[in-house]
């Protein structure tokens, strides 16, 4: 496992008002189940230390997190090296419950977008209201990044994390870097 590589292999770029960097290996598990299943909360808690997220919510616990992806799908973020164990633990905890837990760590690429222009970088590429009032920490937004599907969330420091499919990692990186190389639009109020 230690030899695993991500698609953009540590690419990064510094623009005038925003930086884009590839985030490295990130363990990710897709968990599909009826979210009201009683066993689910415990299994997710054991895997991530987090409660079940509400609609479009992302919850953190140190280096682990859980995000609401759809009414019957969660995304668990765990350290890459723990992924196999997490899947196994979920399988065990949800034995007898109709569910699907699958490792998707290698199927994704993730990027950090930071700096005062981070919101504007995404607002150049995503049909989403990125004003601080409309989108803040604690929410995950699945949408379109230019021409590919993507999901992103932000933290209290205004740093965004964006996840897309591995095969289009270079496309997403290039699009993000292009957007980050622009000057400030000045549309969002300073947060």
């Amino acid at each position: 496992m230690s030899d695993a590589v991500t698609a953009p292999k540590g690419a990064s770029s510094v623009g005038p008002v925003a930086q884009v960097e590839e985030r490295g290996l990130q363990g990710m598990v897709t968990l599909r189940a009826d979210l009201s299943e009683p066993a689910l909360a415990g299994a997710v808690k054991a895997a991530t230390g987090c409660a079940l997220p509400e609609t479009r919510q992302i919850l953190y616990n140190g280096d682990r997190a859980v995000a609401w992806m759809s009414p019957d799908e969660l995304l668990l973020l765990v350290p890459y090296v723990d992924t196999v164990d997490v899947v196994a633990a979920l399988e065990a905890a949800l034995a007898g419950v109709h569910h699907l837990a699958v490792d998707v760590s290698d199927a994704r690429a993730s990027f950090a977008i930071s700096g005062p222009g981070a919101r504007e970088v995404l607002a150049r590429l995503c049909p989403v209201d990125l004003s601080p009032v409309a989108f803040g920490p604690g929410e995950i937004r699945r949408t379109r990044l230019a021409q590919v599907p993507a999901a992103f969330w932000t933290d209290e420091a205004g740093r965004f994390t964006l996840v897309c499919f591995r095969s289009v990692a270079r496309y997403a990186f290039d699009a993000l870097v292009g957007a980050a190389s622009g000057d400030k639009v000045g549309y969002f109020q300073e947060s």
């Binding site: 290698d106 199927a107 150049r124 289009v168 000057d183 000045g186």
Partner: protein, 1002 residues
Amino acid sequence: MSMRLEQGGRLINREKPLGFVFDSNRLKGFEGDTLASALLGAGKMLVNRSYKYHRPRGIVASGPEEPNALVGLGQGAWFEPDQRATTTELFDGLTAMPQNAWPSLGFDVMAVNGWMSKFMPAGFYYKTFIWPRAFWKHVYEPVIREAAASGRPPQEPDADKYEHFYAFVDVLVVGGGIAGLQAALTAGKSGARVLLMEQTAHWGGRAPVDGAEIDGKPADDWIAETLAALEAMENVTLRNRTMGAGVFDHGYALGYERVADHTPGDGRVRHRLWRIRAKQIVTATGAIERPLSFAGNDVPGVMLASAMRDYVVNYGVAPGRKVVVVTNNDDAYRTVLALIDAGLEVPVVVDARERSDGPLASEAMRRGVAVECGAAIMKVKGKKRVEGVMLCRGNGTGGAGAPVECDAVAMSGGWSPVVHLWSHCGGKLKWSEENAHFYPDPSRAPTGAQGEAFVRTAGIASGAMGTGSVLKDAAAAGAAASRSAGFKARAAAAKAADAEEWPMKPVWVMPEQALPELRSKMFLDFQNDVKVADIQLAVQEGYESVELTKRYTTLGMANDQGKLSNINGLAILADSLGAEIPQVGTTTFRPPYQPISFGSIAGEARGEIFQPLRRTPMHDWHEHNGVAWEPVGHWRRPYCYPKPGEDHEAAVAREVLATRNSLGLLDASTLGKLVVKGPDAGRFLDMLYTNKMSTLKPGKCRYGLMCNENGFLSDDGVVARLDEDTFLCHTTSGGADRIHGWMEDWLQCEWWDWKVYVANVTEQWGQIAVVGPNARKLLEKLGGMDVSKEALPFMGWVEGELDGITVRIFRISFSGELSYELAVPAGEAMALWSKLLVAGREWSITPYGTEALHIMRAEKGFIMIGDETDGTVIPQDLGLGWAISKKKDDYLGKRAQERSHMVSPDRWKLVGLETLDGSVLPDGAYAVGKGVNGNGQRNTIGRVTSTYMSPTLGKGIAMGLVHHGPDRMGEVIKFVATDESVIEAKIVSPVFYDPDGEKQDV
């Protein structure tokens, strides 16, 4: 000769002279100039030749309605045609070329006189060039293309950058004149999120030029204060140089920001396209002055009265020294006064009204200007420049006319509200008899997602004509928009008076009874060279509909889009039809309001990221090893790996033979991989596949076919059962997302009570096919897993660690050879690929591409989705009956396959084809049978679906669909190539290689 005035010019900075080049002349202007004002300042009135007749044309307007002053701007990779001089801000070093003046502006060989205009009447495209047909290609088209020279396309890729920006607002205000400022101020005070856009570099619009007073101070002061107030509001964003380009469904609007047109090369994006979602839109888009129709109204020096005022007041430029003003309304007297204030001469005002003694006219007369009432301009004298006018009575036919010397004419036919944005999404119009214009009907506004009106107009765009009315209307619009967006708003307007003006008089032709000779020199649409006589001719020929007349005569087409020509043309049409103008109606206003750059539309989607390019984990390795790529959907797959000096055909042959004889390696990562899990997973797959998947044993693989509900084959692939509840479905390379969506569709919308979950894990896994007689030896050499025939038989799969890397190994074969497909987590796929390459050296391991893959599958008679299928082929056509379960009551496509045409023995069926001489059949060639069809064409009895030179067999092989094919083994049929040569081919079994399958099952 400089026409720059000693004084004045509120927008220019005389301290900052700028140099520019027009038509190879080095000229000077000032900071703050537009290209048009700088040209006029430099004494350049003649700027272009007209589109059809190549008549000399000058600057007519001062804004986006300018029909003539279109130039090619910039050079090389920064060249752009069709740019309006009136909306181009001057910068130092600007280079512009008139784009319709071959061979030169002053001497245009194409300039045509009366004799040629007879050959270009209304609808001349349709009439003149119909016959003879061959003339089109060789005579008419080349001549028209040369003569009707619009802008030339750029010859180099655009060197600039562009971007999109998604903005969500409560209230979008389009237009930064006093109405837009007032509406934005009102909305801003309500707390709504407001975006205010102004197309020019300056705020305030016409009010300062017209000398308006607001809140007891000059308009300029009020504008500055209001701007400061808006800038202080956190919820308001101001954007100048940003045009409202279009209004679309559900509050979608486009803003076109010209970020760096005036500062080229400063590294910023050139244009930014604002993709706006607004709850409410206020269009404060102002009004456009109408020309008057008199003979020679297109001679350089004839200009809109308001534009002339703009040039004098804003830019300190005199469009002429001696200006005749012709009008049907009071507003033109503001131009008279501005000209006199600037020390210019106004020999006479030609007023079409019988009486003109309103306050503005009286002031002009008090200052010594002669006013001729009930008069008309009979014609303009001069060719490349106004030399004088002939005056006559307004109600007559013209007569002899009285000469007046002048070098410019200012004309005003009244004002038309800019209703484009209101109309883009369905806003309707009303006709004002008082002002002779169409204006928005607020009771029939564009409606949004909730059925609510979402566009309002403000100011003169609403038809409010005085400063006070404009502000009141704007405040009301801003407040109403804010309320509709959910805010509390108060419609408090700045105070101003409406100037007292006498009524205007609609005048559509000057003089009213003008004879044909004059009418054929009255231009309605300067850009498209459409005259009053053209509309009248169209009506004589039977045109009634405004939309059809527009297309027949080209009135208001191209970038005019009804800005200057619309009302005048409609009035002529209505008059010729004996109808009222509102009955005739307007043409449709379509976005964009003004042309926007292709670059801004493309945004980031250029060059490397024009489209998403999907890369496998081994992409870089392929790139470094001489790959020739093949696009497969958005994926890039190796087509082959040519060695130095090797062409593709030779490379492919080498790859096939190396694989067949020893060992080949294929990057199969693009293969779709869908995990299907749940107690109903087997039942679900039984519905999706034509064969039975529920009986598959864990540890085993089975080939399956998927059809759509029309029965046609849509995808195929191998299904592996991972455990009792879980299947892994492989799809075609391009098909993963489509089939995933297909599965979710059935699970969500039809069988929502079935307990099945699907996940698309295509990209979680790299997939590597190890193929050839030495494949097993290679895996054994790497070690860690038992891959013997006993432990891992054909169509089985196992999981384990191969030389320390976690893999699933599937014993499946698409080549007919001993073959293992290794699925490995994508992050380690490249590491495994490298290990295989190193360990495989002793067997001369050879990476192969998609073409070798295709040839090997064709040698085995395996079908390929997209080759053997085209959306009309059912599995039964392809001899795949063995993969269709007879026991199942139902599967997707089963009912369709029971239809009479689907069970007909006359369907074309899959066979192999071999040419008699060993050559390769042309792809897609049709086989011809006896007789002809109803169109006299040879009857066809089959077609080629796949065809290759087989390196293994040393001859051409093909597959095809042939009528009664499987019953005609050994028969020779004829195929016709595109060069009509006939190729004979024998019908054979589609399995050319190892028909008993001994090689893959060892």
